[in-house]
């Protein structure tokens, strides 16, 4: 079974500053993907960034980057130059291979507030 834990129910950041959201996970699979999703009040799930477990290099997408520590099973999201539009609920998610292929296990979510 897979588990994903987000220990920060809420975070806040000043506009233009940097914030890091934490995520830890557990899986017995060797082949898996990790994702960060953003869910604004519109409730649409928006993919922020993904990381393949076999890749050692941390993924980066514009202002979003991850710190993937495979041995520690840690997958944090860093948002640089925060913008008001970044305010949302953020979910960390794990997609394992094998018989669980395609199924996502989500963390509890972190509500991010961006202050002007």
């Amino acid at each position: 079974a897979q588990t994903v834990t987000q220990s920060q129910p809420e975070m806040s950041v000043q506009e233009a500053e940097t914030v890091t959201l934490s995520c830890t996970y557990d899986t017995s699979e060797s082949d898996y993907y990790l994702f960060w999703y953003k869910q604004p009040p519109s409730r649409q799930m928006i993919l922020v960034i993904r990381q393949e477990a076999y890749k050692q290099q941390n993924a980066t997408e514009n202002r979003f980057s991850v710190n993937f520590q495979k041995a520690a099973k840690s997958f944090s999201l860093k948002i640089s130059d925060s913008q008001l539009g970044d305010a949302a609920m953020y979910f960390c998610a794990l997609r394992a291979g094998g018989t669980s292929y395609g199924k996502l296990t989500f963390g509890q979510g972190t509500i991010l507030t961006v202050h002007p």
Binding site: Y33, F35, Y37, S42, R43, Q44, M45, L47, R50, E52, F91, A93, R95, Y101, G102, K103, L104, T105, F106, G107, Q108, G109
Partner: protein, 112 residues
């Protein structure tokens, strides 16, 4: 990439009734899923919608309560049966791509 649409986007229903939610993908996908998001909570997988066969349900979810159909590779329905206020949630359809998971906009269900 795939674009997923859901109907209805929201509904208010009476206790004891049933609601069927439709999910349409704009391209053929191998795997489709249904998730539930209770108010203020995370997403929980209800079931995998299998094309041409019975859905595979996760622990805590049963076919009698959440019957699912998937007649082809682009369409699926989820029925929430004999509803109670505890079924008030957002229901999301999802499809798997090679290295991405796509989500529909969700159906917000309120049961009175």
């Amino acid at each position: 990439s795939a674009v997923i649409s859901q109907k209805p986007s929201r509904d208010i229903c009476q206790r004891g009734t049933s609601l069927t939610i439709q999910c349409q993908v704009d391209s053929q996908v191998t795997m489709m899923f249904w998730y539930r998001q209770q108010p203020g909570q995370s997403l929980t997988l209800i079931a995998t919608a299998n094309q041409g066969s019975e859905a595979t349900y996760e622990s805590g979810f049963v076919i009698d309560k959440f019957p699912i159909s998937r007649p082809n590779l682009t369409f699926s329905t989820l029925t929430v049966s004999n509803m109670s206020p505890e079924d008030s949630s957002i229901y999301l359809c999802s499809a798997s791509g090679y290295n991405e998971q796509f989500f529909g906009p969700g159906t917000r269900l309120t049961v009175l």
